[in-house]
């Protein structure tokens, strides 16, 4: 049995008594790339938000590489990379300023080199001194891709990472994150919510489909346990 990267057990979250996530149990092996599918309101974002430590579950448990998500430990936060719906960027900073601050927070070694490499990889190095507030949605998303990889996380939790990206942007996303192809990197585990189901076959090793907070279909049982 492979090591588990993400494990949830009867994970539940209620809003005003109504379950947004209802006893979801999944086990994802290290190195897997899992697509989280489902219509709006199916619970994808809620699941990712709980795993990102930004939301407390109402019941059940979740672990990432053995760390209890509810305890929100520093060790856990050092190993997850997150892209949410909304870009998490200082609008009146330049990409360099934003990434330098977070490189300091994550204590990234050789941060200048790392930042240059990532901004070059997402093809916005030429925008490094521009204010982020002037960026298009796609440019912000490229920067978020770079930011999520800054500290070389072992698990990536992505909420619709394709938002705003053109064909070139999608290629960058696939190369850097979804195909684990960052140069010299060890494979990371990816759990990514997406509505682009036609693209899932190109990058995912499995999928989980949610509806009204419950798993209705999954490929996890065979390959990822």
């Amino acid at each position: 049995m492979q090591d588990l990267a993400i494990e949830t057990n009867c994970l539940t979250r209620r809003y005003d008594g109504l379950p947004a996530l209802n006893k979801v149990s999944i086990q994802i092996a290290s190195g897997s790339r899992i697509a989280l599918l489902g219509n709006n309101g199916s619970g994808k974002t809620t699941l990712l938000t709980i795993l990102s430590t930004l939301l407390q579950s109402s019941g059940g448990s979740a672990r990432i590489l053995g760390y209890d998500v509810a305890k929100k430990t520093t060790a856990l936060r050092n190993i997850i990379g997150v892209i949410r719906h909304q870009p998490m960027l200082y609008e009146n900073f330049s990409p360099i300023e934003d990434l330098e601050l977070f490189a300091k927070i994550y204590q990234v070694p050789d941060s200048d080199e790392r930042i240059k490499k990532l901004l070059t990889s997402v093809e916005i190095w030429h925008l490094r001194d521009e204010m982020i507030g002037t960026f298009s949605r796609g440019q912000k998303q490229r920067l978020m891709i770079a930011k999520s990889l800054l500290h070389k996380p072992k698990v990536l939790l992505l909420d619709e990472p394709e938002i705003g990206l053109d064909q070139d942007g999608l290629r960058v996303l696939d190369q850097l994150i979804l195909m684990n192809a960052e140069e010299g990197s060890t494979p990371v585990t990816v759990l990514a919510a997406t509505h682009r189901e036609e693209r899932v076959d190109t990058w995912a090793t499995g999928f989980v489909r949610l509806e009204r907070g419950q798993i209705i279909e999954t490929t996890l049982s065979k390959d990822n346990l």
């Binding site: 990102s52 430590t53 930004l54 520093t74 936060r77 050092n78 997850i80 997150v82 949410r84 909304q86 870009p87 998490m88 960027l89 200082y90 609008e91 009146n92 900073f93 300023e97 601050l101 977070f102 300091k104 927070i105 994550y106 204590q107 930011k147």
Partner: protein
Amino acid sequence: MNLSTQLQIGGKLLNANLKQAWRDKTNWITAGMFAVTALLLYSFAFNLTTGLVRNLLPGVIWTVFLFSGIFATGQSFQHDRQNGILDALKISPIHPMTIYIAKTLANILMLLLIEFALLLGATILFSEPLFTPQLLLIVTIGTIGYTALSTLLSAINLDQNNGGLLLPVLALPLLVPLLIASVEATSASLQQEAGTAPWILLLSLFTIWSTAIATLMFPLAD
């Protein structure tokens, strides 16, 4: 992450908050303009020749400071939430208290800048010696106290649709003891009474209490 590293990161975050506030001047310009306008109106409203203005100044000063502070700090976490920065910081290894302290310190420094400028202006407008070391000390202590609370409250009520309205309603009852001590200490200082020290001590105690409580409460604020 040890204390020394947290302090280093806190310093970087403080610098980022100051840079952010400097570049996005909206709240600070609103606060500054309100303060200047209020001070000018008061100076025209009072009869400066009667000598009674000294009795009114503590109330005038702290009313202007309080509402400038609310304008300036009331939405200090709101921009961070809207940009997703607060989430980015919360999922990072940085301690929540470091996030709060860096934001509060940035607010305090920016507010003190406005307040000291106002004291200089008021010295000229009211012909009273308001830029004295003792008064600067009182203003600094009082500002630390109310900024600690208002910054915490700006984080608590972010998710409310009418958060901007809720802040003054929530903040004012909590700030009353601190404001009373600030006004009394300022009054004693202006009257050059011997009894300034007890009020400064009381003000310091309220400031320590509010700062400590706010710092401890911030991780639970969301």
